[in-house]
């Protein structure tokens, strides 16, 4: 098919970019998310979590917490129903009983009158643990005599699949080309910008939960099991959901604990994950080790596939065994595999429990298998696009696991995706360090998972004002369900889109539904709504027939008006008139249509044999990128994605799903990862987990295949997940094409590429043992306690002169507040302010001075914020390194919060502005009880300021003629985070163009910045080579610490590389 299906020709509302149902509430701030809910008498909850990956709880002392004024309830595992719960394999207690199994495991909870008191009460709980040996990797889980994560689970194997379809050995025997390899993937967190949360109330013997859940009914089923109550004793109401991606699909303890606190106190209770808690307890993507072997004929026909896979379940299972299944079999329906063998194991570890995340196992499988296909293409000498095309499944195909392919335009997807990126032309004219890669994927549209039903039911009511209401329990999580279901109902009813409403799920009211998972809502719920609308329409037309006294066949409905097909416009009556007349008559009744749809699929057997879904959606994606061989940095230039999702119901929303998936795929591939220390993600907050931002995105081409799924509503299928799946593999394939480096372990980091390109630089590397990471700039709360302020009322004094500030500061127990940022961060991170007394410098006139004096020197007061300096045109032209450093901060809103004093005062070499100022030979003036003094910033870094001194200003002389300055910041992930290295340089040339002076400063290579005056260059003509030779000394001076931003060896190489690059920039500017 290569044209729109004729069956969609007459559609009026489906296929149009109608206004989203939730658009206006969301742009005006009126949309209510769970954190926005306030109730009279509402209490606030907080949770104490385990600081140990594996420990026995010896005792818990709650007395001090219970005694605190404002504390209404403190609970532990002993207060629970002692019931384990979980989607498939109940293994989780709402609060730990006797044992904790990962850093973050819930131990106790508090409800109090304010969040501050609740957190302070958590601080007062004393738990004695007996620390047990922990299983901190899959290798440790599989080791002989490994500790058991759950005593009843021998070998730590939570689930296992082991099967063969066809004759795999014969397939390999007949193969001319065999490829194999092992690929690993890491945890990826959903990182919805809204964390998991709940407001719970208990009254009249029933629980009501306002949850930001993707799946209200499944949540109700699991949470009530956890509480040990019948489901009907719980009512779940879906609030606005601020992002789901699988993370809010009812595997969390948050709502269960919140409900228990509400039951204990008789008051509404609000409990919202902090960002740190979200990184511990939201069931991120499951890491996998995936070995795959593929066999092909000479012509490139696939003959056999075998996989062995190990997946990291973490401490509790949630939906992970289903994810294991998807990653084991799903890919076998993408290409025409005649024979397949698989053995996969789900392993318990004492690590963050994993679970459902957009893609549900497929991205990790694709990461391996789509790279194996690329290896095969190389080996066979066939263009990967051609190889995939030859083997792509087609309508009528049946996979080895009985997946029945109905509509399928995978070949069209491949053709369009390659055309969009200019594949053939670019392949012919390959440029150095540039590469092209591609990958394909498929997804279910709903999957029989929780029993032999994957259906949906819906009610469509036509009201007596002529408007219709859809009542469906599926819910909206931002993907556009409400809009799409309204379009489907309006199309079916013949009503204008604006005349169809939809209500938010409430399990007391709405019919049973499974909710937003498995890309199922458009296909499964869309069909149910279409049927309900069809039924309502039938009743409406029957009523009209009675009123018009005409046969139904002679009537029609156009845009909310009903009348005789051949009749004049004046003969038409509005729907409202028909509906009212049908009610207000003896024996009358309202018009209510009910529709049910069950996915035409099979419940897979224990070996995952069975057609999981009634239809499948497909995608092909191509990537073009460039690798910087000096750093290993990858720059994504273009990505194309073409999706077969059948009829596209709302093009803009559909495009948004694909764009969003692609960008999450980029994050999975390249930016989203933590280091683990003792089973805990190090510093789990957004600063160290950079999401892809808008600045570094490639050009994205998104298109849809012409396709029509006969079993879908108006021909539609799902597409919520598919945009993500093949992206990491496509990027890796493109890197291989660009520089011949094959990446086997996610994430793809610049360091891995750099090491592969320059093994000689690492030949003498001495691997150092891992060291415990230190807290960040702001000391962290002890693990397991919630971040956020505790009750504390500091004094706040607004100083009006430097002398007043100095005097107040010297009195002790005071902290200086300039922009206020470090104070706000410290308060959020440690719970307490810096001191009993906060002295604000923000209103001291002298400190707000920014000027250029008579000698053309720059003076900046310490309370001047970075944005003001950034906006000063003369700084940009006169002291470029300063402007570069402020540019590198990234955002206006952050530059506004950071003052000069805040960036200089702590004398931290990793900050950007001091590095630039050091290169420019800046002076700093400080004031203390003994008066003022001015010293070189360099000297300040050597000798520090006195404890009672505060920064007044800096001064920088005008740069000499023929002088250039520059600053560069190298962030490993290219996103806003602490740099791997930051560098600045100043170069002055003499009249002959030779070097008169050269200084380079390198930060992040130890506590103090490296400041080098390159005397060896003076008097010589400059060249890139001379500069590169001169900065080799940086290698020996650098003393970097290994962390998530790179190994010590890599950081050292980058220090040398970027020192050279920044000098070159400064030199160019000097010319």
């Amino acid at each position: 098919m290569n044209a729109p299906d004729p069956r969609t020709a007459g559609l009026l509302i489906v296929g149009k970019d109608v206004q989203r149902t939730d658009a206006i509430p969301k742009v005006t701030g009126a949309a209510l998310y769970v954190a926005d809910i306030q109730m009279p008498g509402m209490l606030h909850g907080a949770v104490l979590r385990s600081p140990h990956p594996n420990a026995r709880i010896v005792s818990i002392d709650l007395s001090a917490a219970r005694a605190m004024p404002g504390v209404k309830s403190v609970i532990t595992g002993e207060d629970t129903a002692h019931k384990k719960w979980g989607a498939f394999r109940p293994d989780l207690y709402p609060l730990g009983i006797a044992r904790v199994r990962y850093v973050g495991d819930e131990v106790a909870a508090v409800a109090a009158t304010t969040p501050e008191i609740a957190r302070a009460a958590i601080d007062k709980i004393v738990v004695k643990y007996e620390v047990l040996p922990a299983v901190l990797s899959m290798n440790q889980a599989m080791a002989p005599n490994a500790p058991l994560v759950h005593d009843d689970c021998v070998g730590n194997i939570a689930h296992e699949f082991n099967f063969e379809r066809g004759d795999v050995d014969a397939g390999f025997k007949a193969s001319d080309c065999i490829v194999e390899g092992t690929w690993e993937s890491q945890r990826q967190w959903h990182t919805s910008l809204e964390t998991i949360g709940c407001v719970a109330k208990f009254s009249d013997g029933r629980y009501t939960l306002w949850c930001n859940t993707q799946t209200p009914y499944l949540a109700r089923g699991r949470y009530s099991a956890a509480l040990g109550i019948p489901e009907s004793q719980m009512r779940v109401i879906q609030t606005e959901v601020g992002g789901g991606f699988g993370g809010k699909s009812g595997d969390d303890n948050c709502s269960v604990i919140c409900a228990m606190l509400a039951r204990k106190t008789g008051k509404p209770v609000k409990l919202i994950h902090t960002r740190e808690e979200e990184f511990l307890a939201s069931h991120p993507r499951m890491p996998m080790r995936y070995w795959v072997r593929l066999g092909f004929s000479k012509a490139g026909k696939v003959l056999a596939k075998e996989i062995k896979m190990w997946a990291d379940n973490g401490a509790y299972t949630g939906k992970s065994q289903a994810i294991l299944g998807a990653a084991t079999v799903r890919h076998d329906a993408l290409y025409k595999y005649p024979n397949a063998r698989a053995h996969s194991k789900l392993l318990y570890t004492n690590l963050v429990p994993t679970g459902a995340f957009r893609g549900f196992g497929n991205p990790s499988a694709d990461w391996a298998v789509e790279q194996a296909w690329d290896l095969a293409a190389e080996k066979l000498g066939i263009d990967i696009a051609d190889l995939l095309r030859v083997n792509a499944v087609e309508p009528g195909d049946v996979s080895p696991h009985n997946h029945k392919i109905t509509s399928c335009e995978l070949k069209q997807c491949i053709d369009k995706a390659t055309a969009l990126i200019g594949w053939k032309a670019k392949h012919k004219n390959k440029k150095p360090n540039r590469g092209l890669g591609m990958g394909c994927s498929l997804h279910v549209n709903g999957r029989r998972s929780f029993g032999d039903w994957d259906g949906s039911s819906a009610i469509v009511r036509i009201n007596d004002d002529g408007r219709a209401t859809i009542i469906s329990g599926e819910g909206e999580i931002g993907q556009g369900t409400f809009t799409v279901l309204r379009q489907i109902a309006a199309e079916e009813l013949g009503l204008p889109y604006e005349d169809v409403d939809i209500t938010r799920p409430d399990t007391d009211v709405h019919p049973y539904a499974l909710g937003a998972l498995a890309s199922r809502v458009t296909y499964v719920a869309g069909n149910a709504v279409k049927r309900a609308a069809g039924e309502a329409s039938k009743q409406l037309m029957a009523a009209a027939a009675e009123q018009f006294k005409l046969p139904v066949e002679d009537l029609t409905i156009i845009n909310g008006q009903i009348g005789p097909k051949a009749g004049p416009e004046s003969a038409y009556k509005p729907v409202s008139v028909i509906v009212r007349a049908n009610i207000y008559k003896p024996g009358g009744q309202p018009i209510i249509g009910v529709g049910n749809f069950d996915n035409p699929s099979e419940f897979p057997d224990h070996s995952r044999f069975g057609n999981e879904s009634g239809s499948y959606n497909f995608a092909a994606q191509c990537v073009e990128l460039e690798v910087d061989p000096g750093t290993g940095m990858v720059k994504l230039d273009e990505i194309s994605a073409v999706v077969d999702c059948g009829t596209v119901i709302h093009p803009a929303a559909a495009q948004g799903q694909v764009h969003g998936g692609m960008v999450q795929g980029i994050g999975f591939a390249m930016t989203e990862y933590f280091d683990l220390w003792n089973g805990q993600p190090t510093d789990p907050q957004l600063k160290d987990y950079p999401l892809p931002g808008a600045a570094n995105l490639p050009v994205m081409h998104v298109a849809f295949a012409d396709s029509y799924e006969p079993s879908g509503p108006f021909g539609a299928k799902g597409l919520g997940e598919i945009g993500l799946d093949a992206i990491p593999a496509a990027i890796a394939n493109a890197i291989s094409d660009a520089v011949g480096v094959r990446i086997h372990d996610l994430p793809i980091t610049s360091e891995k590429i750099h090491r592969a390109l320059h093994p000689e630089l690492y030949a003498d590397e001495i691997a150092l043992p891992a060291v415990e990471p230190k807290g960040g700039m702001w000391s962290r709360l002890s693990v397991g306690r919630p971040s956020g302020p505790r009750p504390f009322i500091p004094e706040f004094i607004v100083a009006i002169s430097v002398e007043e500030a100095v005097a107040l500061y010297a009195e002790g127990e005071s902290a200086l507040v300039s922009g206020g940022m470090s104070h706000a961060l410290r308060r959020e991170r440690t719970g307490y302010p810096q001191a009993k007394r906060l002295v604000s410098l923000a209103r001291v006139p002298e400190l707000l001075d920014l000027c250029i004096d008579a000698k053309s020197a720059l003076h900046i007061g310490s309370a001047v914020n970075q944005q003001r300096i950034y906006d000063e045109a003369k700084v940009k032209t006169g002291w470029q390194a300063i402007h570069d450093a402020l540019e590198a901060v990234g955002h206006t809103r952050l530059r506004r919060m950071i003052t000069l004093g805040g960036s200089i005062g702590p004398l931290i070499g990793g900050f950007d502005l001091p590095i630039a100022l050091l290169a420019l030979h800046a002076r700093v003036t400080v004031a203390g009880p003994q008066g003022r003094r001015t010293l070189a910033l360099d000297e300040a870094f050597q000798n520090r300021f006195a404890k009672d001194e505060l920064v007044v200003s800096i001064g920088v002389d005008a740069l000499h003629a023929r002088t250039g300055s520059a600053f560069h910041k190298y962030m490993l992930r290219g996103e806003l985070e602490i740099p791997t290295v930051n560098v600045a340089a100043k170069i002055t040339l003499d009249v002959a163009g030779d070097c008169a002076a050269a200084r380079v400063v390198v930060g992040c290579m130890g506590w103090k910045p490296i400041v080098l005056d390159l005397v060896d260059l003076i008097g010589k003509p400059l060249s890139e080579q001379a500069i590169r030779e001169s900065v080799q000394t940086v290698r020996t001076l650098a003393q970097p610490v290994a962390d998530v931003r790179g190994s010590a060896a890599y950081k050292r190489e980058m220090a040398v590389e970027w020192a050279a690059r920044v000098l070159i920039t400064a030199w160019q500017r000097a010319k």
Binding site: V27, L193, E240, G788, V798, L825, G890, T892, R893, L894
Partner: protein, 161 residues
């Protein structure tokens, strides 16, 4: 500690429960203006962005005490009873939202850019969109919303001229 400021055009005053209270808490709790959301509480995500004296400001880092005398605007202050602000209308028209939790931050950020510079360059637009995270959209449609809002602003400017 008592502070006074202008909030969405109204002169208001508020007694800070603690002197180091953050602007986000004052807006959300004392004034029940919950449009500014808290996503990370460390200034990384930008979804709490409000305008302080016209400048985009992370309400999660801004000490309320330092806002004495400031002009503060939040997403709730943009639309009139009859019409959305052109930036809001552009986000609606361009389907530039999914879950919506970041949208108040994006809308305020865009307003700030366009008020200062009605004709921003592509680089300036990119820096502006980049300063607020969005986990759903992949940003493409948010860029489209910026472009529509810029076009609308230019049309309005022409009519006025």
């Amino acid at each position: 500690m008592l502070i006074k400021f202008t909030l969405n055009g109204d002169a208001v005053e508020v007694a800070l429960k603690t002197a180091d209270r953050l602007l986000a808490d004052v807006l959300r709790e004392d004034f029940q203006l919950t449009g500014a959301k808290l996503g990370c509480s460390i200034g990384a995500c930008g979804i709490c962005t409000v305008l302080v004296d016209g400048e985009p400001t992370p309400a999660c880092l801004q000490l309320a005490a330092l806002c004495d005398g400031a002009d503060i605007r939040t997403v709730e202050g943009l639309a009139t009873a009859d019409a959305l602000h052109p930036v809001q209308q552009a986000f609606v028209n361009q389907t530039a939202l999914q879950c919506g939790i970041c949208i108040p931050g994006h809308v305020m950020q865009a307003c700030s850019l366009l008020e200062k510079n009605p004709n921003p360059s592509e680089e300036e637009i990119k820096a502006s969109v980049d300063s607020v995270y969005c986990r759903c959209t992949g940003y493409h449609r948010i860029f489209e919303a910026y472009r529509e809002a810029i076009a609308t602003a230019q049309k309005t400017a022409k009519v006025k001229a």
